[in-house]
Symmetry: C2
Subunit: 686 residues, 2 copies
């Protein structure tokens, strides 16, 4: 091995390889494809990337690993690694650099887990008018009397049979044409984009064509796989956004671009590669599952794998080329990174994007591997902090077609807000931060197995009951060791604060009600950071061998998020000159799981009747799907992006005041009449 | 070295490398980048690829070469290698396979020489209306009041200043936009394609943009490098078509595609790479020539090379990205091969092309390295044998704008004919074969140094005077050894037949006039093939140490070519119901050098007044240039391609009869009244 390289082995994944000496362990993990949590984007503030450097000679790998093979201890690490753990070799991955061969153990809480994404397609009404239409045409073979070229020949046939003219053809489709015509014995099916350009030619009569509507979130990527000819959703596929390793939120990724020479390219490559993996997944699902069968001695057959079709199920057996259209939406920063557009200015006031308008980009120009002549329709964006995802929400929910005033809240890593009706629409964004999605909390995590997603607290005993993802039974119906809890995810957090408040554990100021908790086993002062904390699950119930707690700091984080959201909503209502909104729609993964009562208890948005609160699930994805299946929705999307007035809330003079007030949990004033009867009077009136 | 590989060394180039055993010497030459003439495309009929296998141990290279290291002698070789030369190790390169290490000597006559291409730009009138226009725009920086995105911001500026709206932008140009705007302090110059799409953004005020008009011939590729803003032709660059190694004519290349699995890809890659080399050449010429200066001891300065600018000359110092537009024309087969379109059907009756219409293809989609967002405009084609090159001729000469009937003849490897006026135009092609360009003749060659390009024969003495390319002085003003003649090129052939006929050496039937030649030193019967031949240059005047002769078979080849051309012209005139044409225009390299009198003597086309015969040079290239500088010419080109009626002459019943008759040299009948006084009466009346 050369002097400037070191061998690094990650456990438990077993991934290993040579890396340049001097890079951080997080950088090494990226090079070797190991996903370690890096929520803060290596700003050394989240402490999620703690790893253990093993000591000893590992014969299996032929290396000698030693704590001294990394850079010396840094002051910044003390916040996250106490003396005892330091002894054991624990270090902060974004600080510690590789100086010689090491074996690194990544504890479970530092692993970027496999997230459970539930974005099933909702039933929404979409007019059938896809960008891709199929035209079957039969022509005469060429003769000396009529030696016209292949393309003009089929154009004449299409004009004769369908009245469509002035078609052009992409060079990649043109290359298929002569063979398709002859293989099909002068009968072909032509895929035409927007009644304008031929993007595929197949021999004979073909009746189906497919497309994907992709919704790229900061954290997750989900796609609807649709049959463009009958609008059927064949499948819903999803995955983690592979950019998570560059930081949990958009600012961390913009910073990564600004501090790393090829950072933008790397992040762009990663999400494009991820998109291709998602496409592969969608395609693979159209084949019967393959089962590995050991070939018996003397048995014939070239393949070790056999297909095991489900009985009675028809498999489409599609190829990548069968995907002829894609619509895609994202927030502005993800949009820019996906397209390799400099995202720097989106992160700095006054946050101008590089472009608002939608784009039709050939998939091949982005390296997305579908039918090579096909386009990707990139949804337009409204503003620096209100992206194409919000345009997706708008064209799915169509508030501009209604008289009633709707407040649409899309809670992702950022909160995006739209308010209005068919007369006027305004939008804004508020920096909720990722707390509502589980990040930045001591035990916050993504919606992955082991995450607490439902929490109830008995107001009398203040005992905690909860449910984790991956297990149906609640805590009180289980043995402790069966729970394997690991942390709290977004939907659990909404429950958590509402329950802490309703059970009298925290006051409306968010401060622990020390008097009420005195002597309670679950309440304690953390010996390391001297902060009060409340135990949600005991170590024996966890898979990480630690008590899972909510700290005073966590509660502050959640309050900041909900305060920003509430203040944003309130200022918008004021700006529109409204007294109240007629309907509140909550979109995003948050909206799918939302408990309307608890959302109201939390005070996420101005008071309204519970019946008028509606979870609209993945409305951004639905908007992408609408644009996929109805080309007119694309025009509507561009209209939306330029006709919804964007309001920068942080420059409003009253914002700070509203924000501070909204940090409080809701109280029995005029502002929340609908809470009466939901939260006990003695709590509301405390 | 592994058992299945052999070392092959080519002399005099010295190129060498390992090749798989069993491939032919021609295949090995391609692998190692040695250009050997292969006029027939390895159909074993042209005999141009004769090479010599050396015998002996070559210490310098560490190999033992031996005649037995190649495949056994084949009957097909006897036609081209006589017993004496066979003894010496001469073999046919397309037949002989490599079986072990060999050193191969390529005789000068088998080397594919570096051609002299003279395609300087003619002065033609072109209206200035390029597809690419520059718009300089100054905008306000974004603010909280006006945080509009970069693209919409410049669009608004362009609309305000130039009234241009509804612009789109290519993703590659979009990526330049944010930095260009900020580098230019909110002033940029935008290149817009067809007033429709932004294809480049540069900071500040820019006043020039450049383009190339490329004319891809079967044999040569030439390009006009133009300033699109002032129509100036900055440079004319040219090169050999690198596909020549796959065969001299289009049929040979189509055959190569049909017989070689990745043949089309290989040929396409070669011409694309060639195009990039041509672009590099054009770019390199915009810099001062670099002169190597040896650094003196103790002298400072980091570079061994210094630029030597010509005094008073301004150098543009351009980059590939400064080329923002390309127009390109070719014959149908070259068109298909360039674009990787299956050319198979263009070579088979009824010869339908894949497409007629012009194409706008992004340069990057073809791998052509210019400004990445730019398009290449591919000129439309008329028919299988009348390509985009002929459309180029049409839009340059514009016969459809005149009342007089013009006959336009473009003699390349194929003859392309257009006849008509503003009321009607018909086109056709005739298989002249490459004889008129010098191929398929015993000593035919390309227009390269050493090629006889002018020939005069004294009718009395029948002595030959001639001029070769690369030397100004004619034979009679030179010492024999100064001539270094190597063969005869296209323009020499036209002279040759006219002179042979006028001097009474051949009869109007084309047969050697044995009686008149009896006992003449230059006339003899070849001992090998028993054919009569006439010596044009003696061995001492040649660089190949052989007498350069014209054989009876050569004369037949030329007669076939001129017969096809004449019959084609005549049938077209008949078809149009004309008695005579008003003007004859001769395009192509042939047309540049044409001696009008001799063309008439040859009987290349129906009789007309000598004054009405005009050489129009590289009209195909001029047409490309017109399309580059005036976008309306592109529309005109498409109109031409579909409104010129293509006539397949070979299916006309009278074609064979006319063809046979036209093989004769012209005679003093009604058909050629204008020859009287040019050719001696005794010859005309013989």
């Amino acid at each position: 091995m050369s002097d400037d390289k070191a061998m690094v082995i990650f456990q438990p994944s077993g991934r290993r390889g040579e890396v340049p000496k001097g890079i951080t362990i997080i950088e090494a993990s990226r090079l070797l494809g190991v996903d370690i949590e890096a929520l803060c984007g290596e700003k050394k503030v989240c402490g999620k990337c703690v790893v253990r450097i093993e000591d000893g000679h590992f014969e299996k790998y032929g290396i000698q690993s030693n704590m001294s093979h990394v850079s010396p201890w840094q002051e910044e690490e003390e916040k996250f690694v106490n003396a005892e753990r330091r002894e054991k070799g624990f270090r902060l991955g974004c600080v510690t650099t590789v100086e010689d061969d090491i074996l690194v153990f990544v504890p479970e809480e530092s692993r970027a887990g496999k997230q459970v994404v539930s974005k099933a397609a909702r039933d929404i009404f979409i007019e059938h008018n896809p960008a891709i239409k199929l035209y079957y045409v039969k022509v005469d073979p060429p003769s000396f009397e009529e030696p016209t070229g292949d393309f003009e020949r089929i154009c004449r046939g299409i004009e004769r049979d369908y009245g469509l003219n002035n078609l052009t053809i992409d060079i990649f489709a043109l290359r298929q044409l002569p063979n398709a015509l002859r293989d099909g014995k002068w009968e072909v099916t032509v895929s035409v984009w927007k009644d304008r350009e031929v993007i595929r030619v197949r021999p004979g009569k073909q009746e189906h064509t497919y497309g994907l509507a992709i919704d790229v979130g900061t954290t997750t990527v989900a796609a609807y796989f649709c049959d463009l000819t009958n609008m059927e959703v064949i499948d819903t596929v999803s995955m983690m956004n592979p950019q998570c390793k560059y930081g949990e939120d958009v600012m961390a990724r913009i910073t990564y671009h600004m501090t790393t020479p090829d950072g933008l390219q790397r992040m762009s490559d990663d999400i494009i590669e991820g998109t291709n993996e998602l496409i592969d997944k969608a395609i693979a699902n159209t084949f019967p599952p393959q089962k590995k069968v050991k070939k018996k001695k003397g048995e014939e057959g070239p393949d070790e794998y056999v297909e095991v079709p489900e009985e009675g199920k028809t498999y489409l057996r599609l190829t990548r080329e069968d995907i002829e259209d894609i619509t895609i939406g994202f927030n502005t920063a993800m949009h820019h990174i996906f397209l390799s557009l400099n995202p720097e200015h989106v992160g700095m006031a006054p946050f101008p994007p590089v472009i608002h308008h939608s784009l039709d980009i050939r998939a091949r120009d982005l390296g997305v591997k579908i039918n090579p002549s096909s386009y990707m329709f990139v949804l337009p964006i409204e503003a620096g902090f209100v992206g194409a995802d919000n345009v997706g929400v708008l064209i799915a929910e169509e508030p501009y077609k209604h008289e009633e005033n709707q407040l649409i809240i899309d809670i992702g890593t950022n909160g995006e807000l739209v308010l209005g009706n068919r007369h006027k629409l305004i939008s804004s964004s508020c920096a909720t931060g990722p707390a509502l999605e589980g990040a930045q909390l001591a035990f916050g995590m993504r919606a992955a197995p082991g995450a607490m997603e439902r929490i109830e607290i008995d107001p009398e005993t203040k005992e905690v009951d909860y449910k984790v993802i991956g297990r149906d039974a609640w805590r009180k119906f289980s043995e402790p060791k069966e729970m394997k809890a690991k942390g709290i995810c977004g939907s659990g957090i909404l429950d958590l604060l509402a329950e802490l408040y309703s059970a009298g554990i925290v006051a409306k100021s968010g401060v622990f009600n020390k008097k009420a908790l005195e002597g309670h086993a679950r309440f304690r002062i953390n010996p390391d950071n001297k902060q009060p904390e409340f135990v949600l699950a005991w170590a024996e119930e966890s898979s990480i061998d630690k008590d899972i707690v909510v700290t005073q700091k966590d509660i502050r984080q959640i309050q900041l998020a909900k305060g920003a959201l509430y203040a944003g909503c309130k200022l918008m209502v004021k700006r529109m000159g409204l007294e109240k909104v007629d309907k509140v729609k909550i979109a995003g993964a948050f909206g799918t799981h939302v408990d309307r009562t608890k959302a109201l208890v939390m005070g996420l948005f101005p008071d309204c009747e519970i019946e008028m609160i509606e979870g609209v699930g993945n409305a951004a994805g639905d908007g992408c799907r609408a644009a996929l299946l109805n080309v007119k929705k694309r025009v509507e999307a561009n209209w939306c992006s330029r006709n919804v007035e964007y309001i920068e809330l942080t420059v409003e003079t009253s914002f700070q005041q509203e924000f501070m007030e909204a940090m409080q949990l809701p109280h029995m004033t005029d502002e929340f009449p609908h809470l009466k009867g939901i939260v006990p009077d003695e709590i509301l009136n405390q």
